[in-house]
Point group: C2
Chain length 460, copies 2
Amino acid sequence: MTYHTTLNRAADAASAAAGPYGAWSAERRRDLLHACADALEAARDELVDLVRAETALTPERLGGEVTRTTGQLRLYGDHVAAGRHLSARTSKGAAPGGADVWTVDVPLGPVAVFAASNFPFAFGVPGGDTASALAAGCPVVVKGHPAQPRLSRRIAEVLAGAVTGAGAPEGTFGFLDAESTDGDPNKLSIELVQHPAIKAVGFTGSFGGGRALMDAAAARPEPIPVYAEMGSVNPVFVLPGAVADEAGREKWASALAAAVTGSAGQLCTKPGVVFVPDTEDGRVLGDAAVAQIAGTAPIPMLTDGMAAAHRTWQERVTGTAGTEAGEGKPFAVQISAKDFAGDYREEHFGPATVIVRADPADYPALADSLEGQLTATVIADDASDADRSAARALLPSLVARAGRVVWNGVPTGVAVVEAMQHGGPWPATSAAWSTSVGTEAIRRFTRPVALQGVPADLVG
Amino acid sequence: MTYHTTLNRAADAASAAAGPYGAWSAERRRDLLHACADALEAARDELVDLVRAETALTPERLGGEVTRTTGQLRLYGDHVAAGRHLSARTSKGAAPGGADVWTVDVPLGPVAVFAASNFPFAFGVPGGDTASALAAGCPVVVKGHPAQPRLSRRIAEVLAGAVTGAGAPEGTFGFLDAESTDGDPNKLSIELVQHPAIKAVGFTGSFGGGRALMDAAAARPEPIPVYAEMGSVNPVFVLPGAVADEAGREKWASALAAAVTGSAGQLCTKPGVVFVPDTEDGRVLGDAAVAQIAGTAPIPMLTDGMAAAHRTWQERVTGTAGTEAGEGKPFAVQISAKDFAGDYREEHFGPATVIVRADPADYPALADSLEGQLTATVIADDASDADRSAARALLPSLVARAGRVVWNGVPTGVAVVEAMQHGGPWPATSAAWSTSVGTEAIRRFTRPVALQGVPADLVG
């Protein structure tokens, strides 16, 4: 069977399922999402072993990720069952003639989901896009990640079983094997996005990949929304008060080193640029962070391609040779603000960061020079009037450029909660007003309908 | 000065204004919107005379439209001052380390607004897109309508005076004269949408115009959202109970005739297709509506081009010649459901409609055959079990296809209220999840930012 046939069958089945599944009550959808969580939990050990074989991620990290993913599925189910995803606007007697006007929310239809490789569970086949689309009442057609064919397939089998077991119409959960395209998974991606049955797209990955999907969606006879999360350098601004004493310098050197090297730096919220004061205290912090990061042993990366890209980048920005194939050597470079240009400003996937020594008075202008970001972080001494004053001057630039602003923390570790905004202005995402993490992600896949004077017993 | 120079100056000024105007408190924005409303009110008589000279709309209609537009400006101002446009999500202690996460909302930046011709006030230069962008904290660059150069320019002067008088930064309200392009206003439109300073687009008009703006926006290095409302045939489904007695038939024939001919049918919510039961009662209703519509005197249309298009359409669907230049002859055609194809399914701007005689049992299938719609309407006898049963079978198809579902009313007359959804699936609009009327329109021009542990006194 060619991949065209597979794709058409999955998309047509999703289209046929859209009406009946979209008519399911929120309680039934909650039960389906809980069933998916239960099935993943039951297969936890098998799946973690499988993922380890294809990704080299650690069992600790993967165990936590399974827990996060099952929690996410359950949370989104509970959220819709409680009606918290609804726009719920009412204007009594507002229509001509005095009829009430109020809103209900309906699913958009089949959603194409592209599994990311860096979180095989949380952003993979059973990840946030799948969970939020199913919660919204939309069937999904999920494309597995080409670097992780076996685990994508097996996770899809587990989910498909749960979805079928919950009584959902055939086609509610569809899966496309990236391997089926005879070496060109991108063709499959474009064809999937351009299939007339598909009504929205969820994607986490590279800028190039996201842009290609956006262009394909915009060129359709019926353009559809693409929710692409494409990455960011996640700037961190360290204010002087935070590193005025040794305890502060040690604390933040360790926290930053852990955030840069954790999961081999393969996180979309990894701090890729850290601005430190161009002072003796700042130098000590920078040197400590450089030393801690460089003292971390090489870490296996997700794919040989990513490891090679990391090595190339290291050679370009440091002039020194990288480590052996498949592994990422953690490192940090320190530069002064006047050299902050070119490669140093580009997102880099891997255990590395750029430390920029700058006059804190220049932080707002440096922030203004950055593109859209998923996150921006301020590290400061809460009790310092000087830091508070500097933060007050800096924060407007960060709020204007980022989807989330973190205070005295690190940007990694995205909480799956109602208030989360995991998004941000272009080129961090394709749709700055949307989030791909947190319950608000569900709303990407619904639209409100105003009912004007319709007898309530005749709808829903 | 070439139109390039004018455009660049307006866009650059809007870009410069975005930061300072975006930082205004909601109360100041409310005061600015109220000042705009007051200025329009003060110039009411002058403006209505000017609009009449360029549009042939009646003074009664225009007077009501000024009132609606000033009410809209005031409502949107009050809405933001009350904080009702905010996403306002909070997750206490949710971040790693226990910090709170909550959202604030920030403006997207300069918005390009394209004035529509059919509502020179409510959807024109001072219309819903301008009002909602200014309410959101975004500067606007408004392109006047090429068919209405003098009134566009004069309304812009009035608004610019009010915005300046309210103390807003230069560039907060920019205006582009469609006449300045030496005969090709479309070039100006595309260049405006592709100017790097522009961050979002509001448009009401034709499908071709909306699609061209969408394509231009999607092709930018930084794609931006286009909120285009492009029209609809607004199907009406008459159930048998509603026309079982003469009073019902007379009432609905009159109501439909008024909705078809009002404002010369130049409304995006005009009922363009009316399904009536293929029974004797249905025939009487259809004949009465046809007679009432045809008995309405020819009505001056907005432009000679629109009148000519109306005449051409009349000749195509009826085989008879239309009326003289500049005027629209009201008419309705009656066909049977088997002939409902081609031209009959296309939106037609003007005082005409298509009455389709069908078996009410086929209504759900007929509804399923329609494209996305701004509105869909059911006319039924509330007390009839048969009608309620038929409506229950029909409503899911209407909710799946329309932005608003009307019960026992006509779709014209869009209330400017919180629960209004003036939008709908493709090709009615470019963004089915958004509305161009009602306070929710403001949210199109903001995005949420999550704050994680940021001291509250340092932001806002």
